[in-house]
């Protein structure tokens, strides 16, 4: 009895981490853009959606195997992110933040419209590259998809961390984000670095989208809830903190799954799956009220 309850609990932990890993990726994308462009990119979810459809189209219509399609989608998304910055964002940069925000909202609507026009509204199936196997580890049953999702997400985060930490270009992207004037003085081409930041964010979103599709199902609304969770994760971690975004995502995934788990007990029997999204919004509100800088963010200092 106790053993079974523990196994059930651990299963929820694993699937919570898998969901959280996806939130973390999209939250990280939001943070990267917030650090460089200074706004929340409301189109982040739809950019990920478009990437996922591209992956689906490559597999379904162009005979790609999953992993080549995965890699090709990342490359296309990266180029798309760079192009988005160069063509759509850069002309309004430097003005009021509101202008950029409105442009990202416009982008959200435009991409969603494009997806509907191109691929229709009916749900599509993007199969999990990890198969439908389940593993029994000491009574704890975990799905191959959850394990694979966590592994891919961690791999991507590690790669990104190494890029930012150890490479010249990664350092230049960070420098351009934290202090563009100074960065130009040392010879960094700042607008290109910001564009690369958008490219990286689009790539992260693509991974998040492709990892979401197998469990949620691919349709034009797929990323809307995920984007809200990513907001919550980014706010929880601190909107300017990449580490915070990752930990915030994992914590949020765990928290929501813990609520699902606890719903079997009387004290939490009010909780049902429909409350996941409102819980995320509640979390955003709570963090903004109690600790606006989040877990890992620094309190805002106005830069002049």
């Amino acid at each position: 009895m106790v053993v079974a309850a523990f196994a059930d609990f651990m299963q929820q932990v694993v699937s919570g981490l898998a969901a959280g890993a996806v939130y973390a990726l999209l939250a990280l994308a939001l943070v990267i853009i917030h650090r460089s462009t200074g706004v929340i990119n409301f189109a982040q979810g739809e950019m990920a959606l478009l990437s996922t459809y591209i992956a689906w189209a490559l597999i379904t219509h162009h005979d790609f195997a999953y992993w080549p399609a995965f890699v090709a989608t990342l490359a296309i998304s990266f180029a798309g992110g760079v192009a988005t910055h160069r063509i759509v964002i850069r002309p309004v940069e430097g003005g009021s933040v509101l202008r950029i925000v409105i442009v990202t909202i416009g982008l959200l609507i435009a991409i969603n419209g494009f997806v509907l026009w191109q691929w229709g509204g009916e749900p599509r199936a993007l199969e999990s590259p990890f198969g439908i196997d389940t593993y029994d580890i000491g009574g704890v049953v975990v799905t191959a998809n959850d394990v694979g999702t966590i592994a891919v997400a961690f791999g991507i985060v590690l790669l990104l961390w190494a890029l930012f930490q150890f490479t010249k270009i990664g350092l230049a992207i960070r420098a351009a984000a934290v202090n563009p004037h100074e960065a130009r003085l040392v010879g960094v081409r700042v607008t290109w670095m910001l564009a690369l930041g958008w490219g990286l964010a689009a790539t992260l979103g693509a991974v998040a989208g492709m990892l979401t599709a197998p469990t949620v199902g691919l349709d034009p609304n797929m990323m809307q809830a995920v984007l809200i969770y990513a907001f919550a994760a980014a706010v929880l971690g601190g909107i300017d903190s990449p580490v915070g975004a990752v930990i915030g995502g994992l914590l949020l995934g765990l928290l929501l799954n813990m609520l699902s788990y606890l719903a079997q007990y009387e004290a939490f029997d009010w909780f049902s799956e429909e409350l996941r999204l409102p819980m995320a919004l509640l979390l955003i509100l709570l963090v903004l009220l109690v600790k606006p800088s989040g877990l890992f963010g620094r309190p805002e200092v106005k830069r002049v």
């Binding site: 350092l171 420098a175 934290v178 202090n179 100074e182 960065a183 003085l185 010879g187 960094v188």
Partner: protein, 235 residues
């Protein structure tokens, strides 16, 4: 002495406000030249015009070649500009600041250069992992200088390095600049409010007044001329 930098009738403006009217000056290779003058005389703007961070017209040549484009191009041409108010990446570590200093370089000697630069600032070696924002004001100014050296600049532009620093720190800073000039032949154009300290390291100086060169001479001449000191340099 070979002329390294030549400004010929340079004008610069911030929107409708003209900040420089026909500023001409030269800096020879291996020379330390000071630009002095009151607040708003156009000292900072002169440096900004050279590094391309303000819109300017007129002739600016480095080593006989016209400087065009923004600060990225100036950095690639070999100009290291340490702006007013430190100019470090406070959110990045000391080492990352140094690596960024070498951003325009393609060679692989960057590691040795960190050692070479640490020779002038021994504390840097021990505190490479520290965030620049946690350093003292004096240390940040030293780091800004160290970062500029990492680019192996042809020309170093220093904007008001004494600002907000204790007199002892200022002396130490300028002693280092002089060492660099004597040992490595570093060419420096330094803008300073503190005329006394600037004249003590420079060989020549220009005094600006409302965007024009009001007078120029060797630093020794300017120092010795009491009328000049009183009316232009304020000491």
């Amino acid at each position: 002495m070979r002329t390294l930098l030549e400004l010929d009738a340079v004008q610069a403006r911030y929107g409708p406000v003209q900040a420089l009217h026909d500023v001409s000056l030269t800096v020879g290779e291996g020379e330390v030249v000071a630009v002095l003058g009151a607040n708003g005389a156009g000292k900072t703007t002169t440096l900004r015009a050279i590094s391309g961070t303000v819109s300017r017209s007129g002739g600016i040549e480095l080593d006989g070649k016209a400087l065009k484009g923004g600060p990225e191009a100036a950095a690639r041409a070999g100009i290291a500009h340490v702006p007013e108010g430190r100019g470090t990446f406070v959110e990045l570590t000391v080492n990352e600041n140094l690596r960024l200093g070498a951003y325009t370089r393609r060679d692989r000697a960057v590691k040795q250069d960190v050692e070479r630069v640490s020779g002038y600032f021994p504390w840097i070696a021990e505190r490479g992992g520290q965030r620049a924002g946690t350093l003292s004001g004096g240390e940040q100014q030293m780091l800004a200088l160290a970062r500029a050296l990492m680019s192996r600049p042809r020309l170093l532009l220093l904007d008001e390095p004494s600002l907000g620093l204790a007199p002892m720190v200022v002396r130490e800073f300028f002693r280092t600049v002089r060492d660099l000039n004597e040992r490595e032949g570093l060419t420096v154009l330094v803008v300073e409010q503190d005329a006394r300290v600037a004249l003590s390291v420079s060989s020549r100086a220009y005094v600006l007044e409302v965007g024009r060169v009001a007078l120029t001479g060797t630093s020794a001449e300017l120092q010795d001329d009491e009328a000049v000191r009183r009316s232009y340099l304020g000491y």
